[in-house]
Amino acid sequence: MIAPESSSKGANGSGRLGGLSTGSHLLVQAGEYVCALPLVSVRRVVRSLTVHPLPGSAPELEGLAEFGGEPLPVLNLARMVNAAPGANPAYPVTVVVWAGPADAREIMGLAVDAALEVADVPSASVVAGGGGFLLGEAPIAGRVVRVLNLEALGRET
């Protein structure tokens, strides 16, 4: 779902940018969880990229890939959010995102089971957040969605 174009704030308080609300998120399936990625940080969704493993790396890091001539560390999002593995995905994808703080952002890949839809996630609806990578949870269309803060990704914790 993509919100209709509007230059004013929506009823939920989200500002709008072109046809999309600034609260627009890409919902992805990561194991048994549905996660929401801020759409402004999503650069591309592509078929699962070939990944070259790095021996001795953390289990969250699947390895390195290449996208558009750029090197791309690829993280397994299900492992990042401690989600139990789901069924074998029929069409796994890599979501290419900007991650890290605004003044030091870097391109990164998130391996997920599927890209689902674009949905508006009003900031006021996000609860139980830790303030880090897992910003919190929000009810979207009758299901609980984990809302992620990609600016916190890559920071030392």
Partner: protein
Amino acid sequence: MSSYLLLRRGGVLWGIDNAAVTGLTRRGESFRIAMDGEAPLSADEVLCVVDDLRVQPSAALCRFWPGAAAGVAGLAVHGELPLVVVDPRQPPAMLRLEEGDGTDG
């Protein structure tokens, strides 16, 4: 412009500033790479020297690959292959020459 020696070790493609490399010797099935003022390194395969790498730092890589973080200068791509660019002053442990890495040949 820096040029980089590309090599493979432990299944990973690595790039090392070629100016820091002082010698290359075959040792059985592997290669010994002599470094300027540093301990020698080992490679399973030596690919080529390239001079067109665009090296990008990666904080995320350092966070999720702590064993190699201190010795990594950044990431780059050659052809369509991603590679890890080494800091020649403190190369990652998995590149260091160890006993059993082959004999002079």
